[in-house]
């Protein structure tokens, strides 16, 4: 049952910003600006041009988003502040309307953009459970049925008939989250609410979310915590300035996000300076890494199947024997892909360059490059995560294999297939 529960097509939301719209207007302002505004409106009818001042006041909080979410999927939504995550959630939970495009959502949607929405400080815990439940879309009988469970989960049994204004902030948040956690929507939209309560309570919340996911619930989860996104999400949508920068498997998207946004390395530079020597008595150290295409153009983005190479420049300050300059390609999640060793050489002081040709024809991936120097298998210099390379399907020479289980390396060997007679007992039978 791979049914799609959320489908968005060209979803866009435009906001008007600027002094006149940021704050609510007073009638006087509108009246005093009315002649001017209507004049402008008439002008724009005559000359339908998009003046610079008009474009400046409009901002696309979400622009042209198209994606699908299948039942049971946990979709993480990441991006920097102001990337449009909250706006997207507000659109999907129908709080605000899109300017263009559309989305279809099938089933009951509950959004937790903030826990405790509608809680009233003067009302008791019991009263707030009913009120908040109703606001979040629960039926009265449903709340009644789950009441004890909600109270127990929040650990506030003793204070259930006390006005919540007397609650500690921890108790308040626990109760609020507990009501939300006992919703049974088909689609749950959560915005950073897992950062509530103490560690033990957070653990309980994660458990509750997992339980829901196993029960076939679809979860849209926005977070800045990449650890939580990695742990919980099956796929991730990365927003940048309202647009979709990447969407796909968690590992890939989060990896790319971390390397470019969080600046784990120098990003997409085609030439990277390497850190200096680790110890003063080391016989040498790295200088620079260069990434080049087949025609020697510096680049850090290559197509599937396209040959490229790395130059590893290093300096030898003391004569060294049996030197090996090694290079390793690692995925952003830390799994190594390939290691290449140079031929051992005896070197006198000077600057040297190792050239490593690489071709990765199978899977799109983000890679970090590590280099090291050793003498007689004893390393004296290494630099991890020194460079960053993207392998993309754009302009690929081979058709990209989209299967997620496909490896990165391509084997040139072609295993033979031969007959072995009748099937042995038990094998291949159900």
């Amino acid at each position: 049952m791979s049914d799609i529960v959320v489908r968005a097509q060209g979803l866009s939301k435009r906001y008007q910003i600027g002094a006149s719209r940021l704050a609510y207007r007073t009638l006087r302002e509108t009246l005093s600006q009315a002649p001017e505004a209507s004049l402008r409106r008439i002008k724009s009818l005559v000359t339908p041009s998009h003046g610079p001042d008009k474009a400046k006041n409009l901002i696309w909080a979400v622009r042209n988003l198209s994606f699908e979410v299948t039942r049971g999927e946990v979709l993480g939504i990441i991006g920097r502040n102001g990337a449009g995550k909250s706006t997207l959630f507000k659109l999907l939970s129908r709080i605000t309307r899109p300017t263009e495009g559309w989305a279809e959502v099938s089933g009951r949607v509950s959004s937790l953009l903030e826990v405790g929405t509608g809680f009233h400080p003067e009302l008791t815990g019991r009263e707030n459970i009913y009120l908040n439940g109703a606001i979040l879309g629960m039926r009265k009988v449903e709340i009644g049925r789950k009441f004890d469970e909600i109270v127990a989960f929040a650990e506030v049994e003793k204070f259930i008939d006390t006005p919540v204004k007397h609650y500690s902030s921890g108790m308040f948040v626990r109760l609020a989250f507990s009501v939300a956690a006992h919703l049974e929507p088909d689609i749950l939209i959560i915005d950073e609410v897992l950062s509530v309560g103490d560690a033990a309570f957070q653990q309980k919340c994660l458990g509750k979310m997992d339980e829901g996911r196993r029960g076939g619930r679809t979860v849209l989860f926005v977070s800045h915590n990449m650890g939580a996104v990695r742990r919980l999400c099956t796929s991730v949508l990365w927003l940048e300035r309202g647009e979709c920068r990447a969407v796909g498997r968690t590992e890939y998207v989060v990896g790319a996000y971390e390397s470019t946004v969080l600046g784990l390395n120098q990003g997409a530079a085609a030439s990277v300076a390497l850190p200096g020597a680790g110890s003063p008595d080391a016989p040498g150290h790295g200088l620079r890494l260069h990434f080049l295409s087949e025609d020697r153009q510096p680049r850090s983005r290559f197509s599937l199947g396209e040959p490229w190479c790395v130059w590893f420049d290093f300096e030898i300050v003391r004569p060294v024997k049996h030197l090996i300059a090694a290079l390793a390609l690692t995925r952003l999640d830390g799994s190594p892909i390939q290691t290449i060793w140079s031929a051992p050489s005896d070197l006198s002081p000077g600057c040297y360059r190792g050239e490593y040709p690489i071709t990765l024809p199978l899977a799109e991936t983000e890679l970090t490059v590590a280099v090291g120097l050793s003498s007689f298998e004893r390393g004296f210099y290494d630099a991890n995560g020194a460079g960053h390379v993207t392998i993309t399907a754009e302009g690929a020479r081979v058709a990209p294999l989209r299967s997620s289980s496909c490896g990165v390396l391509f084997s040139t060997s072609r295993p033979a297939i031969f007959g072995i007679g009748a099937a042995p007992d038990g094998a291949g039978k159900v």
Binding site: R28, R94, R108, L113, E122, D186
Partner: protein, 282 residues
């Protein structure tokens, strides 16, 4: 936004798209959310008298004290006519529907802005917010109605069968509050001037209705006709007529009833037109 359910078992597919058309009132959805309306009303009432020493007694004290003051000023000092009924009863009978109307109007007018935290966080039909504000006044009304009964017994004012028409006048007062409240609440989201103007509006409206005086004081002719177009004139006349057989409301009350229905419809259209922008503007 339209919710279409294909079969009973299939999940509802909700389509989210830019506003289309100029009016769509989804009554089915409103019915779906009836429990939320109940809880919003219930919250309003609960919260109103929390942490007050006298609690619900305020429902009694407020209109009684107000009526006593008006009776003293207009009945005693100014010696205005009250058609043979004790002035206190005369004023109280009018204050009942008036306070229902005025309270509903004032609460509805500011309701959306006061619920800003809900509007920007959760989806539900926005119409519920002013509706709840209007309905929540009915409980206070019911309590003060009992007081009126007590007053009538005390002053030996005989009731009549006309009492059975009272719900009609209550409905008229509520509809008048709803129609005006829909406009004011939606306008207040955009222009906070509205909430400054509401107390003034309510006060002016009270003196334009025969609450503290008898409509006999209004000169006959065009002025009287316009005066009677005010739906609250009809409501107050209706109450006095139903309770102790004062002059019945004129046929103009019917006209004003039709006008009120038109205002409610116009208010609904306006409200639905702008409700999509509430979360962005409030």
């Amino acid at each position: 936004m339209s919710a279409t359910s294909t079969t009973a078992s299939a999940p509802t597919i909700i389509r989210i798209e830019p506003s289309q058309g100029w009016f769509s009132l989804n009554l089915a959805e409103l019915w779906e959310y009836r429990e939320l309306l109940y809880f919003l009303v219930w919250r309003d009432i609960k919260v109103r008298y929390k942490q007050t020493v006298l609690g619900v007694a305020w429902v009694v004290i407020q209109p009684l004290a107000t009526a006593a003051i008006f009776a003293f000023i207009f009945g005693r000092l100014a010696s205005l006519p009250s058609g043979g009924v004790p002035y206190l009863v005369f004023v109280f009978a009018a204050l009942l529907p008036w306070q229902l109307f005025a309270g509903a109007l004032a609460r509805a007018g500011t309701s959306l802005v006061n619920s800003a935290n809900l509007l920007t966080k959760v989806y539900f039909p926005r119409l519920l917010v002013p509706l709840a504000a209007i309905v929540s006044g009915l409980v206070d009304f019911a309590v003060s109605f009992v007081i009126l009964g007590g007053l009538m017994v005390w002053y030996r004012v005989p009731p009549s069968w006309n009492l059975l028409t009272l719900p009609l006048f209550v409905l008229l007062a509520l509809l008048a509050a709803l129609g005006t409240g829909l406009f004011l609440s939606a306008l207040n989201v955009q222009y906070r001037d509205v909430q400054q103007a509401i107390p003034f509006l309510v006060q002016a409206w009270m003196f334009l209705s025969p609450v503290v005086y008898s409509e006999e004081l209004i000169p006959a002719g065009t002025v009287r006709f316009l005066y009677n177009l005010n739906p609250l004139t009809g409501v107050v006349q209706g109450f006095r007529w139903a309770l102790f057989g004062a002059a019945p409301p004129t046929v103009i009350t019917l006209v004003s009833g039709v006008l009120v229905v038109l205002v409610v419809l116009a208010g609904l259209v306006y409200f639905k037109r702008v409700e999509d922008t509430f979360a962005d503007v409030v």
